[in-house]
């Protein structure tokens, strides 16, 4: 790295990138501490961090990896916190749906393809799988399922009309989309486990103090407002 030490570099899971950018702008306005955002998939960032990436903060899309970093001394012990909780949405742009009818169509399996994020990799994929299991459709749907590498790709499948439905993050749907939806429905959070996103302070950081300030900032009302307006929920 060649930039000044007081700068912060925050590694952000792709799905939280836009929100993180808004947060950073606000934070810099207040503290005058410049921030760089680097976005990739959680696992990419994880691999980079254990291989010496010069990041100060890691905002992951799951719990496992921050946990693992903390356990292996890559993260500052006790710094781990849940900064956002995601919600699962059903999304479609298929013109044959009147709003509302689409849920029935999903549950009865009368659609061509359904895209979900890869449950092996992505927390939203796991949540989608849990939802499908909960409504007893997991088995029947298997021939209709298409897996995205992440939720972005999952939504892309639907936006480009290649699948009928996609189960995606609410944060994505809240942002402006290039295609009008014919069906937007929030999956009840009772039908899947919480999609918690956790962040940690990295022990590799050269400006722990500023980093800690950002972590604290995430709990301030201003930040919470930004996070919530982006489609996440925050719990104390």
């Amino acid at each position: 790295g060649s930039w000044a030490d007081e700068d912060l570099t925050i590694a952000v899971a792709s799905n939280f990138q836009r929100t993180a950018e808004k947060l950073a702008t606000e934070f810099t306005l207040v503290t005058q501490i410049p921030i760089r955002i680097t976005a990739a998939s959680t696992s990419n960032l994880y691999a980079q961090i254990i291989n010496g990436a010069p990041y100060d903060i890691f905002l992951a899309a799951d719990i496992e990896r921050p946990k693992s970093l903390e356990a292996n001394e890559f993260a500052v012990r006790g710094s781990r916190m849940t900064y956002a909780i995601g919600a699962l949405m059903l999304w479609s742009s298929d013109s044959s749906f009147e709003k509302g009818e689409c849920v029935a169509a999903l549950e009865s399996g009368s659609y061509r393809k359904l895209a979900i994020a890869n449950p092996e990799i992505a927390p939203y994929g796991l949540a989608a799988k849990e939802y499908l299991q909960a409504i007893g459709n997991w088995r029947d749907a298997s021939s209709q399922l298409v897996f995205g590498e992440n939720i972005s790709q999952t939504l892309l499948f639907a936006v480009t009309g290649n699948v009928t439905f996609a189960l995606v993050a609410r944060a994505q749907v809240v942002a402006s989309l290039p295609v009008d939806a014919t069906c937007i429905w929030k999956v009840p959070s009772s039908l899947h486990s919480d999609i918690e996103q956790q962040g940690v302070l990295l022990s590799n950081s050269k400006s722990l103090e500023s980093a800690q300030r950002f972590m604290n900032f995430l709990r301030e009302p201003k930040a919470i407002a930004i996070i919530e307006s982006s489609g996440y929920t925050v719990t104390e």
């Binding site: 994880y46 691999a47 393809k113 590498e149 009309g161 290649n162």
Partner: protein, 220 residues
């Protein structure tokens, strides 16, 4: 170890390479012989697919091959199935992505062939097509081998395009590169190493055998 993705990858690489050699040969031949002012333009266009990041190319293909796209809608009309998330779609996408790797070596081989060898074949009674297969092809073997190797290996390692167009459906479009990727993503390093090793060994022996045969055959 799940052998399915490896098998699927080999199938995809094999079919893609075959299609590319069959379709790439006339294109490469035209490029090598043409004196047209369009030649350099076409040649540059052929190289374009590699300039785009695979995922992005995959995205554009997803649009074009999708049921609403130009090619995809036509395919749906023709076969009743969608092209995306199918093996056929994967083959088309892989072919577009690997096209330059197949065309360039063949074109080079054709260009370095002296035209008098062809003329000799013609005067010996070989038609243009006959002369092409009996003289040009064997004398350009090196180019064909290179084309095959690059196209084959590139398709095996391909990832972004396949993921995008194929949708990672087990048994349908979940190729070995995606499988390895998943293992890495889920921090299942042992499985990733194992599958990588198998893929590398497989590819190594296929290519090694090819180079060996090519060397024997080569006129000096």
């Amino acid at each position: 170890m799940d052998i399915g993705p490896l098998w699927l990858s080999l199938q995809l690489a094999f079919v893609t390479t075959l299609v590319l050699i069959i379709l790439g040969t006339p294109l490469a031949w035209w490029l090598s012989q043409s004196r047209s002012r369009w030649q350099s333009v076409i040649q540059a266009i052929v190289a374009m697919p590699i300039v785009l990041p695979p995922t992005v190319l995959g995205f554009y293909l997803l649009v074009v091959l999708g049921p609403a796209g130009v090619i995809g809608s036509w395919w749906v009309k023709l076969t009743g199935n969608t092209l995306t998330f199918s093996f056929a779609g994967l083959v088309i996408a892989s072919c577009i992505y690997s096209l330059p790797f197949a065309v360039q070596p063949m074109q080079n081989a054709f260009e370095s062939l002296s035209s008098s060898k062809l003329e000799a074949a013609w005067t010996l009674g070989a038609s243009k097509l006959d002369a092409f297969f009996s003289v040009v092809v064997p004398l350009s073997l090196r180019g064909f081998v290179s084309a095959t190797v690059l196209a084959f290996a590139h398709t095996l390692g391909e990832f972004g395009v396949v993921l995008m167009v194929g949708g990672n459906i087990p048994g349908e479009s979940r190729v070995v590169s995606i499988a390895i990727y998943e293992h890495v993503e889920t921090l299942n390093f042992a499985a990733a190493h194992q599958l990588s090793l198998v893929l590398i060994l497989f590819a190594f022996f296929i290519l090694f055998g090819m180079f060996l045969v090519n060397r024997r055959w080569q006129p000096r």
